[in-house]
């Protein structure tokens, strides 16, 4: 955290948001202010800009800079098999139940970041022998992170310190290293895992609903939104689910205050699994 946090006023942030909106058509006006402010400060420090004013100037005059800005302003921190208990619940209960009712299953990872969650799901499906019956779409607002997700290239440190450990908690008898090769301080995940996954850019704020799914995972994305934006996005998820379809949000997220909440039933309150029960 930096001392700069004291100097930046809400009005500065509003100006920045306004410029981004009018010039690039991204709307950050309903993002959670505490994290947004910290992200802005981070960008100012990374690029040694000194002030929001200077940041606004660069955003205005350099579209290429804006792309990098977009990557930096969004929080991409993610993990494979984050919350191992959820992945066990998926393996032992939810997926068997879903696949017992449907021949083919459509899954959407909304806000997939660098793909860790997508690869986790692909590994799980492979272990269950369900890959061929599944269509996966993975989306994110940030073009750069989507390209990264497709590569399946993860720093070895993260792989060993975080992902391997999560996986072992999920599946003590197996090792995640069966799914990647190590080269030059990077772990390269087996790309055939995501052969049939469609990665694409999609902004949950402004983009339209595009198709219907049986399962949507949107974890640790809506925490960056205000409650009113969470409400709008939940409506979109509701429209994007078949009746009986499932939504999974992050372990500390709640949909209870959203209007569409009444159209969902709770399947697992601890792991935040919901089922669409009404149109």
């Amino acid at each position: 955290m930096s001392q700069l946090i004291e100097d930046i006023e809400i009005i500065d942030l509003r100006n920045l948001i306004h410029v981004i909106q009018s010039q690039y058509n991204y709307d950050f006006s309903n993002y959670a202010i505490s994290s947004f402010k910290r992200r802005v400060i981070r960008v100012i420090e990374i690029y040694k800009l000194g002030s929001v004013k200077r940041l606004i100037e660069r955003v205005q005059s350099e579209p290429k800079f804006f792309k990098d800005f977009l990557s930096e302003i969004t929080v991409n921190v993610t993990e494979m098999f984050r919350d191992p208990t959820l992945w066990r619940e998926l393996r032992d209960k939810l997926l068997p139940e879903i696949y017992s009712k449907l021949k083919e299953v459509k899954i959407w990872h909304a806000g997939c970041s660098s793909g860790e969650e997508v690869f986790s799901m692909a590994i799980l499906l492979k272990e269950l022998g369900l890959t061929k019956r599944t269509h996966i779409v993975a989306t994110d607002i940030d073009h750069n992170i989507i390209s990264k997700a497709k590569e399946g290239k993860i720093s070895l440190k993260n792989m060993l310190d975080i992902n391997d450990k999560n996986y072992t908690r999920f599946m003590p008898s197996n090792s995640l290293s069966n799914y990647y090769k190590v080269d030059n301080n990077y772990a390269f995940l087996d790309k055939t895992l995501v052969e049939n996954t469609v990665f694409k850019e999609h902004d949950l704020v402004k983009s339209e609903v595009f198709t219907k799914f049986d399962l949507i995972l949107c974890r640790n994305v809506m925490i960056y939104f205000s409650q009113s934006l969470q409400n709008d996005v939940l409506n979109k998820f509701h429209q994007s689910l078949f009746i009986g379809g499932h939504l999974i949000v992050g372990s500390k997220e709640s949909i209870s205050w959203c209007d569409a909440n009444v159209k969902f039933g709770i399947v697992n309150s601890e792991e935040k699994i919901y089922r669409k029960i009404k149109d």
């Binding site: 955290m1 910290r38 925490i223 409650q227 969470q230 500390k252």
Partner: protein
């Protein structure tokens, strides 16, 4: 000194609306003691940021709850802060308070090698409560929290640091003392006594 002549002492002052506490290694037992001995009439909400193991999602609240007289909650994103409760930053998330007294969680990069980061919880809470908050820094092995405490102090909040002589690990209290110039340096009993003698509005 002049200031204390004109304004009421912390115990007499009825302006306080919240308490924020940070701690790391060596702070757990201190926190258990504080929570078991502060009276229920002291109903200011308490926001707690303690460094904790990342992969152990459950058990920590339960362990703190056993002897606590107050309800301990790991808030969900956008949950409201309410009087009388204790709010604990969940593992692997940063906890901020936002205007409107709602919590916001985040998975941003670690700050001072920590997530949750104490700096971030204290800074955001003090942004919301300005001079109406009491900050307390307990035992710990790094410097997380010191910058947050100095910001809280600058905004007029009341700053308490656990006595480094009593702290199991004094790096964190010492850093806070150096950076924040606290109003009081107290041992655990002193902290409890002060909290229990607060006049509430």
């Amino acid at each position: 000194m002049l200031k204390s002549l004109n304004s009421p002492s912390v115990e007499e002052n009825t302006k306080y609306k919240a308490i924020v506490i940070g701690g790391s290694a060596g702070s757990f037992q201190v926190m258990v003691k504080i929570l078991s001995e502060i009276s229920n009439t002291m109903d200011l909400p308490i926001i707690l940021c303690l460094h904790r193991l990342k992969h152990i999602r459950n058990g920590f609240v339960e362990a703190l709850q056993i002897k606590s007289r107050k309800k301990i909650i790991e808030p969900e994103d956008k949950e409201s802060l309410k009087k009388g409760n204790v709010y604990l930053a969940p593992s692997n998330y940063h906890l901020s308070l936002e205007l409107g007294n709602k919590f916001a969680l985040s998975t941003e990069d670690m700050v001072n090698n920590s997530r949750p980061s104490i700096d971030l919880t204290i800074q955001s809470s003090s942004y919301v409560f300005k001079d109406k908050i009491i900050g307390i820094m307990l035992s710990g092995a790094n410097k997380d929290g010191a910058l947050g405490m100095s910001i809280l102090k600058k905004r007029g909040g009341f700053c308490i640091v656990q006595d480094p002589l009593e702290s199991t690990i004094n790096t964190m209290p010492n850093a806070a003392i150096e950076q924040a110039n606290p109003d009081r340096i107290l041992n655990t009993d002193g902290i409890i006594k002060l909290l229990n003698s607060l006049k509430l509005s």
